[in-house]
């Protein structure tokens, strides 16, 4: 099965579908939706099949394909999957059909007061953008050529930019375009710094090998002097830190999160931002091992600051979408910490965290989106006591929240625990401090839940608010199921991720410190 072009297929299908959907006439919006849903479901099944075909024990990239693209610069179209990228592709392909269903009525619906919900209502365009985004996401995870990665990295921005700018809340035109522009410029700036580093890497490879290359596997073998490593590392790191986002580079996220349509926000925070953390573990650490060790304390400091900063801001937030965006900032702190603790356990935890965060935050955004669609406001104050009228919604909200605060038994717990435990073996104090962040997470989540769902109903007209519709239930069901399932039995994921992470760190020369505390695998449900 390994010669089957899984990844190329995964790439081409949404890209082609995007073109098809884009030319669907405006009045046939439903057709566009149906095509999109079908394609994304097929895509998910394909990704699932690919995961089954994947052999975790084998080292290196699987399903690899390589065709020369721009010979002049040694650029090739080369894709391949390892454990890390595979689970992220799976996450992306899972979330997209959910987003499609969740956005089913959002694009052409009207808000309670009769004004259209979104700025521009070309339904086919919206779904074409979603599909283009999916292609970009698959590409960015599947690329094994640094240049190709960069291309997808940048190309992904454009559909997201239009999703935010064109399909955000209609009444907030100024803020919407502000958010879109901010998002694009931040990302572009990061991307350009990365471009400088990418070109630098190419020049170094040309110096060492005679002909320059962008092939990831080849670049890994390079012996780069520490000084150059640091510069190149910073180029990549800043780009990823903006994307992830890590603490000082995060200011675009709340705006973008708040102004995106619900589906856009899920994909933005759930998958797109993972590109940043993915890049850290996939590119920064293997390519620049010495520089990563050198900068690890700095990154860890930023990560911890991010954990607290995000949590504190989330507590004080009244805008629900912004609130969820800030919680993500804290979560990304955990992921970065797990990555730069440079132990295989924390690394595995970080990768798992990416998936779990995608699920839990995705669900949070979904629920918030449902609420906003019902009441037309993102303000927390508009929702007191909603549990009385929308019990199912409240229940889902609770599950999402609990998953977000890493309640044992739910998915996030496993990853957060792995991250903390892995970090502990190397940086004890840090791990302990970070644990306090969990407490803060409990505060902002429960406080949010309390303010929106419990207590007396906010007003009488809220009594008419409907509970989740069948479509909405179908949307949330798989996510809820996965949140619970992965909390109880995370082994399949860990099995896929762990060997890759271990190999990554070992290749880069970061051996795990000798176990000083018995915090290894036993509590985590067991892994190989």
């Amino acid at each position: 099965m390994n010669s089957f072009p899984w990844l190329t297929l995964l790439l081409i299908i949404p890209a082609a579908a995007a073109v098809v959907v884009a030319v669907v006439p405006r009045r046939l919006g439903t057709l566009a939706k149906q095509i999109t849903l079908a394609v994304t479901l097929v895509e998910f099944v394909l990704a699932l099949l690919a995961t089954i075909a994947y052999e975790p024990a084998r080292a290196g990239f699987q399903f690899a394909q390589k065709y020369s693209w721009i010979k002049q610069f040694g650029i090739s179209y080369s894709v391949g999957a390892d454990g890390i990228s595979l689970v992220l592709i799976l996450l992306a392909t899972l979330l997209v059909p959910i987003v499609v269903l969740a956005s089913w009525d959002e694009v052409d619906a009207a808000s309670p007061d009769g004004t259209p919900v979104v700025g521009r209502r070309s339904v086919p365009a919206f779904f074409a953008l979603l599909l283009a985004l999916e292609a970009g996401m698959v590409g960015v995870f599947a690329a094994t050529d640094v240049f190709l990665f960069y291309v997808f990295f940048e190309a992904m921005l454009i559909p997201m930019y239009f999703l935010i700018g064109s399909y955000g809340p209609v009444k907030e035109q100024a803020q919407r375009s502000y958010a879109a522009v901010k998002f694009l410029l931040y990302s572009l700036l990061g991307g350009l710094l990365m471009l400088a580093a990418v070109i630098g890497l190419y020049v170094v490879s040309a110096d060492q090998l005679g002909t320059g290359t962008f092939d990831f596997a080849t670049l890994r073998q390079l012996d780069i002097t520490p000084g150059v490593q640091k510069l190149l590392f910073l180029g990549f790191f800043v780009a990823f830190a903006i994307k992830a986002p890590l603490f000082p580079f995060h200011t675009w996220l709340p705006d973008a999160g708040a102004q995106s349509p619900t589906g856009g926000a899920i994909l933005l925070v759930g998958v797109l931002d993972k590109v940043g953390t993915f890049g850290l573990i996939r590119y920064c650490i293997p390519l620049f091992p010495e520089a990563s060790s050198y900068f690890a304390p700095m990154v860890l400091a930023l990560a911890v600051i991010g954990i607290f900063y995000g949590a504190l801001l989330a507590i004080g937030q009244r805008d629900m979408k912004r609130l969820v965006a800030y919680t993500s900032l804290a979560h990304f702190g955990f992921i970065a910490m797990g990555t730069f603790a440079l132990t295989s356990q924390a690394g595995t935890g970080a990768v798992l965290y990416m998936v779990n965060h995608g699920l839990s935050t995705g669900l949070l955004f979904l629920v918030v989106g449902f609420l906003v669609a019902r009441r037309g406001s993102r303000d927390v104050g508009a929702y007191r006591g909603m549990a009385q009228v929308t019990p199912t919604l409240a229940g889902v909200f609770l599950i999402a929240g609990l998953s977000s605060l890493a309640l044992p038994g739910l998915n996030s717990f496993v990853s957060e625990f792995l991250v903390l435990a892995g970090t502990f073996t190397r940086y004890r104090a840090l791990a302990i401090v970070a644990t306090v962040g969990i407490v803060l997470a409990a505060i902002y989540i429960l406080y949010l839940y309390q303010r929106t769902m419990t207590g007396p109903l906010v007003s009488e007209d809220a009594r008419g608010v409907l509970d989740l519709s069948v479509r909405e239930k179908i949307v949330v069901a798989p996510v809820v199921a996965l949140i619970i399932a992965l909390g109880i039995y995370p082994k399949p994921l860990i099995d896929i991720v762990r060997p890759t992470v271990t190999a990554t760190f070992e290749d880069a020369g970061h051996t795990d410190p000798a176990p000083t505390a018995p915090v290894n695998a036993s509590q985590t449900g067991g892994h190989s």
Binding site: W69, I70, K71, Q72, F73, G119, R120, S122, A125, Y150, V151, E154, A155, L157, I158, F162, G165, S166, Q173, R176, S177, A180, V181, L184, L185, L188, L189, L192, L193, L195, A196, I199, G200, Y202, V203, A206, G212
Partner: protein, 531 residues
Amino acid sequence: MSATASAIAGPQVLAQGAQGTIDVPAIQYSALSPILIVFGVALAGVLVDAFVPAKARRVIQPLLAAAGFVAAFVAVVLLHARRQVLAAGALAIDGPTLFLEGAILLFALLAVLLVAERRLDSSGGAIVASAAITPGSPGATAQRSSAEVQTEAYPLMAFSAAGMLLFVSSNTLLIMFVALEILSLPLYLLTGLARRRRLLSQEAAMKYFLLGAFSSAFFIYGLAFVYGYAGSVNLGRIADAAGTVGANDTYLYLGMALLGIGLFFKIGAVPFHSWTPDVYQGAPTPITAFMAAGTKVAAFGALLRLFYVSFGGLRWDWRPIVWIIAILTMVVGAVLALTQRDIKRMLAYSAIAHAGFLLTGLAAANSDGLSGSLFYLVAYGFTTIAAFGLVTLVRTGDGEASDLSQWQGLGRRSPVLAGIFAFLLLALAGIPLTSGFTGKFAVFEAAIAGDATPLVVVALVTSAIAAFFYVRVIVLMFFQEPGADGPIIVTRPTLTYAAVGIGAVVTLLLGVAPQPLLDLAGTAATSGFVR
């Protein structure tokens, strides 16, 4: 022997002349064919203008010009393997020359399509009906909607294109100077031929002319010094002279600096850029497109040839200066573009910033830099022609909607057009999968390999700044409501659509599958300049 003496000894001298016959050097006309064809078309155009009735002229002239450019392009293709110096060392036919000649001809062809467009509104084209009618006089309003067109524009374009072809293939500074004038003089005239906003157009022509003449004075003064230094203006011999030790370097450096000023003027590098926005704004937009693409290619071609061939041995002396100018150009272009409210001015400042990026390739001073610059020039040319072509399509009742506020909500009214423009802007900003990105990549890669990393970092930062104003236009078009008096888009301007479409498709192709052109530029660059 003095003049008097020769006058006295007149018969004798004649006898001497008879005995020492002049050997006219062999001019390999076949190798000159692209240039000759374009000159021929220009002359034919002048004749057509003189003898053919006005109505037929309007059809014949564009056809003639287009056919000429196509024929010349075919000639370039047929010559592709030629590498020689001809006409007594006056011209060089080599890889970079042929590459740039091909590019210039294609741009000229696209520009002819834009100029020939007559369906834009009732006025029938961007070129004035009669340039001699004074704006504000009774005939001026009538000519706005007149079917007449100053068809001399086509032969002038052909002359200008011929000048560009000569410019990139000149192997002596003198030919370069003459070519500079041949390409410039028609452009000065063409700038003043806008159908609407005559006053603006005329002022732009005057400004362009005065500053152009000013800059060519610098060029010729620099030529004088280089001649004084090397005793010749042949590029190869200058290089030879520059290679010898102990020669009088002062003249060389003065000459190099002054020649540089002349050429930097033409490419619109800071601090010699001030004409660019005004001229781009005032000129008829199709001419602006021609100018933006063609002049840039030609001037850069000459600049590259001069600095690689003649001053190649002195690169350690000129590189710092080029660095400074490149940085200034990028920064000033990008920053001033932010403040523009007029779309053509904005594109003009963007052109300035792009000149800066191109200079990065020159600063690399290696073969990769050369091939990168060649590629970049082609990529930029197509994008910019398409962009200006698109600008002609967005109109109000009173000509082009040049003010940015009028572009508001364009994405709502005509999504395809706005989409293409957004794509072109993204290409100018250098987003991957567009030609702009590949071009920038090629140039920056060469620059880093050529130890110009700081320059590349500045270039990337300015790219980010520049991205801001491109994105701002996209925001205007897509994320804002159209104004009450929004622009009207013309329904079926076939020729403009063709030009814009070709430009956009090439922009995409060079972003997705740039390899063939990169190969072409690569072979052109590695075969190098002949002397």
